[in-house]
Amino acid sequence: MDKNEIITDVLSHDFNSKSARYYRKWRHIKDAATRYLMAFGGISVIMAIVLIAFYLLYVVIPMFKSAAIESIATYAVPGAANAKTLLYAMEEQREVALRISDQGQAVFFSTNNGEMRKTVNFNIPDGVVVTAIAAGDQTEKVIGLGLSDGSVLLFQHTYDVSYPNDVRLITPNIIFPYGEAPIQINGIGEPVTELSVQYDGERATLVAHGNHAAINLVSFVKEESMLSDDVEITREKSVILIEMEKIIDLRLDIEQRELYVADTPGNIYYYNVSKKTAPRLMQKVRAVAGNAEITALEFLAGGISILVGDTNGRIAQWFPVRDDDNNYTLQKIRTFDKQKAPITAIAAEHARKGFAAIDASGQMGLYHTTAHRTVLLEKIDGHALNTISIAPRANAVLVENDKGQIQFWYVHNEHPEISWQSVWGKVWYESRGQPEYVWQSSSASSDFEPKFSLTPLAYGTFKAAFYAMLFAVPLAILGAMYTAYFMAPKMRQVVKPTIEIMEALPTVILGFLAGLWLAPFVELHLPGVFIMMFFVPFGILLAAAIWDFFPDNIKHKLPAGWEAALLIPVVIIAAALSIKLSQPVENLLFAGNLPLWLSQEMGITYDQRNSMVVGLAMGFAVIPTIFSISEDAIYGVPKHLTTGSLALGATAWQTMVRVVLLTASPGIFSAVMIGLGRAVGETMIVVMATGNTAIMDMSIFEGFRALSANIAVEMPETEVDSTHYRILFLGAFVLFVVTFFFNTIAEVVRQRLRTKYSSL
């Protein structure tokens, strides 16, 4: 055998042996497995990252969805079918509802099948009928019945919840805070045709209108005697004489201070009844347009706004607005005109500023006033609807049509208070003088109107970014120009990492220094800080000029590119000198106290933790970012361009400005964009170095509240899936989109620049 044959034999034998084939197969499997593992792992990591944006959206989107309703049951009215329903009410769990009819009967029934649970017949004298009804404050669940003998019966419906055998059992009940006997109100036995009642546990006020041109107002105050357990009731009363044609409705607010009366021609009379013995007419205003008539009048939760429904299907929100002279006038705030048939009834939600309205064409609308939003509009019946009740948690409605049929619907309406307008636009909130941008997410009271305008927060974010960039951009770019182009390589090796390492400095440290050291320092040396802004650059120029006059042999001792080292003592001296000059200047020009002088002479408020402090601290945080990226861009400018320019006789500075900067400008632009993105999203500095008040003011001496700070401060305390929670997610999403936008621009520009450099 010759040599080649031996080799072939050995190799082929080895290659085809069982173990070798096995081994090859195993290697192949490992290779494939690695490929799949890497692909799977890689793709899932990338998906996980992308998930962030989608998850934020997933939480945000439900806010902008319309409401949905779900029909649960339809049944005939429980109790006396021939009697007219005056009112429905529901309890917290939407399980039991109450119907009160004009025969003086209260029927509690199950909402999902109409089965009667309890019937209470009121103690009404023979021959007397119920002529009017009024429901008071939702939390007290108080109802007044106006009778044909001029008296009023006041009662409350209550629900006891117990859990026998772990099953919820709701026991409805009726109690009478002022006894079971009706209270005589107008003294002449005239039937009560319109009625409004309020009761807050201590004071009850009844407002009733009969056939005469008068409104009777009676108020009771329960006072517990100091000595015994007796409860003494004081009674105040007055009569309001009226000139209106026919009263169709009247409403007294929860505080029992304001009374609104609507008449047939569409006027609203606004009375101040804080003094029960001396009511005052504040204003008369025509509330409807053209020949429309008022058909429904209802308070919004909280009792500040009144909703006026008319024959054209319009619903308007009105509330008293205080003017500069402290006078209140009733003003129309907003109108909803989606329904076309006459509004038959309006029911306000108990805890939010939303309401439901039904009309004569069988349509039901769900609205929210603050957001000026129609969350739902649906024709739910072929007949006219006449009575509606909304569950206390606004998760169900009960509607009766004029054929005596009850419809019970579940309502899915979690976030009616959000609309584009309420998040970004000016909104006229209750008790405010004009439409405003306000962020005020929570308050102690339950019927508080949340103010979810992200505009002041976005404004704060950009204000902070603006001042930070004002400070950072010149310093970082000028510094980058010098470091990349003029600086001696040895010095560059030290300076560049020194500045870059600051990029990793935790911002909580910058924020804490800004809040606890810089803010008091700036306040104390305010004039000095402003002097410094002039002294430092002029000091540098002066030093340069003096250096130029030095004899050449000294000048040559400093190698080229070490100017910055020479300037360090100059900068320190100039800064120290400015601080030294601060007090004399302040004494001379500003009466020894500049912040005080600013507020007294100029009317400028000075906050210790203000935008200037944030600008300095956050500028400090973004300088390394901008510096590093633009330095890279300038340093990367091909050398043959600069040498060519220098060879043609341009000075170093001319080459810098006309050749290097021009070529590197996209890189510098992308550096600024990335710096801006960082400033927009920065959180800890703005949390710690500002007062975090959501004001919209460009003043450098005042604070602000930024989006990021707002999230960090409010997120831990919000309830999961509430509107507040979702709106904070919206804030985060906005931050995400904005920074992603800036970064993408920067990245695309940078990639283009890279191709450009490599082609040069």
Partner: protein
């Protein structure tokens, strides 16, 4: 002359100097910042001298004796000082730490320089560091020990120091029993309660099963009783001793030794003593638990929490980051989509950290954690176990936050591996996986480590997302302890960065807390600078290495 100036301007030199000035200003700011933190942070542990002096807040008012440490001084204009009674266009004032918060209500006050008279530094001025109410400044009168009242004794001070050392030993023992032994029993008791609940939920609560639980519980209760008995005797020893001291204005005060951590007389200390004391205090700062709403004592739980969180994060982020980078660079087809993904990954590094916090809270804590609770821990509901912010979620959130850093760094490392090496390996018959494992990845290790270090440095300094997903101002127990399963991923933890925010801004006594905040900040800055410098060092040596590989 004029033409000379014009020439100078034309040459562009002034602009170059201005540019140089920008660099100088940046460098001065950076160095100044670190110097500021260092000086204020390190100064805190030095035992400064105690001054005793007469002070009158107005020239004609009666003076009283004050005692304390001078912390700070400033000279302000008259108008800013609230027009004090002393004359002068500028007013010099000192911040004096007077301590004795239990007596005067305040432990710091600004005093006017002009009102200070007869300032002395008596050798017997004493500082008592207490567990409550901050420092006490005064003169030692007597020591009550074992029912004896020791007074005017030459060895009084030595006796006191000895008694305090003994007392501290007892105190440590008490703390050990309370925290580790009794804490462990409580932990086991809670486990038993959950076990019982689990049995009820699974409807396996047979008498046999329950009997076993009851027996275990009784055993624990016995151990608990014996520990409380030991505690009682220890407390009795601890509470028997006290010292009596006089304040600067002559008030006699009695302080129980159980409340005293240490006593010292800084004015009488020599320089080596002071240095020794300094390191002792610094060590205490690093290893002790915080006291008095975090304004005094150490920051050990915060250091521990930070390190633990960062380690868990690193364990999660490294494999995922590396796999994603390898996929992007080695396996995925290079086209528009990979380019877009690369841009997206790059950009995610610039997304504000608070956004990640929001995501972590919504997705990890409420969605994932809530589901885990429902599936695996129904017995502890409605109290959430994982459905509440905690260590695991914080680490995961920061892992997502820092994964772009690792991806970018690893990809850069992969792209630097010379083509020749790859092709050489393939040409010798290695499969792609083998090439990757044996040649490419080992060469990329330094790049991965760089990425990991940068990720760790970023995670250690982040605060905003952590505020949402698991950091608290005071964690009752550490994430690792002696109770099985030893690592408690569901616990909340403390963090250095958040500690700075919390103590500096949420503390009731900011003045007292400030030095501690500076010290904490210094620790964090040093840690992060070291991490970053290491990363830079590795990156540079890596570049050198490849340059060599490419040339040969």
């Amino acid at each position: 002359m004029q033409s000379k100036i014009k020439n100078w301007l034309d040459s562009g030199a002034p602009f170059v100097w201005l540019n140089a000035g920008a660099v100088s200003v940046s460098v001065v700011m950076v160095v100044g910042l670190i110097a500021l933190i260092a000086v204020r942070g390190l100064g805190h542990f030095w035992p400064s001298d105690i001054a005793v002096f007469d002070y009158a807040f107005a020239p004609d008012s009666e003076s009283s004796q004050l005692m304390g440490e001078f912390i700070d001084e400033e000279t302000v204009l008259r108008a800013r000082a609230g027009n004090p009674a002393y004359a002068g266009a500028t007013i010099k004032r000192h911040l004096l730490k007077t301590g004795n918060r239990d007596i005067s209500g305040l432990d710091f006050s600004w005093i006017l320089d002009a009102g200070i008279k007869h300032k002395t530094y008596p050798d017997d001025a004493m500082v008592v560091e207490r567990r409550e109410w901050g420092n006490f400044y005064g003169f030692l009168n007597s020591v009550q020990l074992d029912g004896h009242n020791l007074q005017n004794n030459a060895t009084l001070w030595a006796t006191l120091e000895q008694a305090i050392t003994q007392n501290n030993a007892v105190f440590d023992e008490i703390r050990y029993i309370e925290k580790n032994l009794i804490g462990g029993i409580n932990y086991k008791m809670e486990k038993l309660r959950l076990k019982e609940r689990e049995l009820v939920l699974k409807e396996e609560n047979t008498p046999v099963n329950l009997q076993a639980l009851i027996a275990q519980r009784e055993a624990l209760q016995l151990a608990y009783n014996s520990h409380t008995a030991t505690l009682e005797t220890l407390y009795a020893t601890l509470n028997s001793a006290s010292l009596t001291a006089t304040t600067a204005d002559g008030q006699a005060v009695s302080i129980a030794l159980s409340k005293v951590i240490r006593v010292y007389r800084p004015n009488a200390m020599s320089l080596p003593d002071k240095v020794l004391f300094y390191f002792e205090k610094f060590w205490e700062f690093l290893t002790d638990d915080p006291r008095e709403a975090n304004t005094e004592g150490g920051i050990f739980p915060a250091i521990f929490g930070t390190v633990l969180m960062v380690i868990i994060m690193a364990v999660i982020v490294t494999p995922f980051g590396v796999i994603a980078a390898v996929y992007l660079r080695e396996y995925a087809t290079q086209n528009l989509i990979t380019r877009l993904i690369r841009i997206a990954v790059n950009n995610l590094a610039g997304v504000p950290s608070v956004v990640y916090g929001v995501f972590g809270l919504g997705f990890f804590v409420y969605f994932l954690g809530g589901s885990i609770d429902q599936l695996f821990f129904p017995e502890s509901l409605p109290a959430p176990k994982f459905g509440t912010p905690g260590l695991l979620w914080a680490s995961l959130t920061l892992a997502i936050l820092t994964v772009p850093v690792v991806i970018v760094a690893t990809e850069e490392g992969l792209s630097r591996v010379p083509r020749a090496i790859r092709e050489g390996s393939l040409a010798l018959g290695a499969t792609k996986a083998e090439t990757l494992w044996r040649t490419v990845l080992p060469m990329t290790t330094p790049a991965m480590i760089t990425g990991l270090i940068l990720a760790v440095a970023r995670a250690a300094g982040e605060v905003a997302p952590l505020m949402l997903v698991g950091v608290v101002k005071l964690a009752p127990s550490l994430g690792v302890d002696g109770n099985a399963p030893f690592l408690h991923l569901d616990r909340k933890f403390m963090h250095l960065g958040f500690h700075i925010y919390d103590v500096g801004f949420q503390s009731p006594n900011v003045e007292a807390a400030q030095p501690l905040v500076y010290a904490t900040a210094l620790l964090l800055v040093v840690l992060i600078i070291i991490l970053n410098l290491t990363a830079i060092r590795i990156r540079n040596s890596l570049r050198e290495k490849y340059r060599a590989a490419e040339q040969t």
